[in-house]
Symmetry: C2
Subunit: 304 residues, 2 copies
Amino acid sequence: MSSREDLYPSRQLDRPVWLERQDPVVYRDDLEAAPIAPELIAQFERDGYMVLPELFSPEEVAVLRAELNRLRQDEKTLASDEAVREPESGALRSVFEIHKSNALFARVARDARIAEVARFILGGDIYVHQSRMNFKPGFTGKEFYWHSDFETWHVEDGLPRMRTLSCSILLTDNDSNNGPLMLVPGSHRHYVSCVGETPANHYQQSLRKQEFGVPDNNSMSELVSRYGIDTATGPAGSVLFFDCNTMHGSNSNITPAARSNLFFVYNQVENALQDPYCSQAPRPSFIADRGPVTPLDIAPQTYL
Amino acid sequence: MSSREDLYPSRQLDRPVWLERQDPVVYRDDLEAAPIAPELIAQFERDGYMVLPELFSPEEVAVLRAELNRLRQDEKTLASDEAVREPESGALRSVFEIHKSNALFARVARDARIAEVARFILGGDIYVHQSRMNFKPGFTGKEFYWHSDFETWHVEDGLPRMRTLSCSILLTDNDSNNGPLMLVPGSHRHYVSCVGETPANHYQQSLRKQEFGVPDNNSMSELVSRYGIDTATGPAGSVLFFDCNTMHGSNSNITPAARSNLFFVYNQVENALQDPYCSQAPRPSFIADRGPVTPLDIAPQTYL
């Protein structure tokens, strides 16, 4: 590991450092060939995210929610390692690797409406690096602090380059009050290295409450001062795509309106995981697919 | 206490009950005589709150913020009972009774721009039932759960009727992302009694984290389903007035933008405190003025 070049070092210094992004955001130049409007791809490149409103119909959302609600009451699911709970209340927060454990969600991961967009942006064949279904309950939903996914995926999982994006299918309406995802547009152009060594088995804590791999206050203030904060809101069925290095987080949710989504992280096949860029063992494969990877079999899907 | 009529019983039954409000919201009918636009008073009556944008100038806000920042670093203030801290971080959250301990804030409490509005709405002479300066820090600001102030003031302080309102002078910009106050418009028409007896010395906990005197989930869902949720946002210098029985709360704040405000609760002099409507001793007078009350000497104020 020592001889390997680390383009994005983090958690190694006692002060934060801003590094320029070394990788493209959109890997293709022929935007006119994109499966969605070229303006949207340009927006993704500029801001580091985009929302496609109501990409899934209310009827499709109903099918997906029914399966999600079935799973969240399924005892085998609840008892599995893949189920992650809220730090205080113990309520179910996420179930990981749903594209392997669940036939319906495996098809969603391959749905051309989302996966072809990811394949275009990432410039080639992709696979699912991580998947999960997320719940943010009403009344007691907790905040999730600012972070760049790439920072963690790079340091703890060994993701070498920024050629990865997340796709969140909103299964509930998201408005500005029920703890929507906040993003800093343009933050994906900067890599803010974090301070502090990674502790062993950090993932068991970090999935619930992130304490390492988070930006320092000065860097966050500077990012927000430059770029502001936007929120990903929209009716159920809308889909948020965001770059692996876009700074994001969410406030708590005391409103009665729970939030849930399906979450798929796509990685380009040439960017498969290596050893972690820290001295710890890699996280379990249900959080980060360690391969061997095979290109996703993308195809149109129907759910009704 | 047992022979006294309790128009708004709460924390006495094992199930929540919705009672109709027995009191006016606006105590005067001659809206044309109001010190602000009659439409605003009508809005207050309908929604249970109103925002007067930029009632204080940026220069005035600067003066008030300077004094607030001085006080929050003042060791005597920090060591006083009137200083209340965040439950986890220990950061200063509020300082109470600032209209008595601080000459500048005493003048703000008497400022005709706000106090005449309160006197009009409440239909007669008023006094300061409670005052405080509030901080919601950036990055780590915690949520404050839904509640009606009146429920607590009635049960724990012995405030007999709804003839009381709060006035919050925003000293920082409030937007939808930095944990603004959320209100349920129209909720002030309903009195949602709460379940669970009041424990002794509840106030020491409840000022930090409310666990009793909060509405049940079904009632909150019903209120929001009927009326929705609005947020009190605006630039620094704006002033929020809200009725004592308007259901409100706030989410956490992970953004870098701290929030602070000056908070004055005005009560009509004929509505002075009686014994609490529970079996506990009343809360300390720095939280709820137990009299004897004298009418506030309202007058124009200048700060520059």
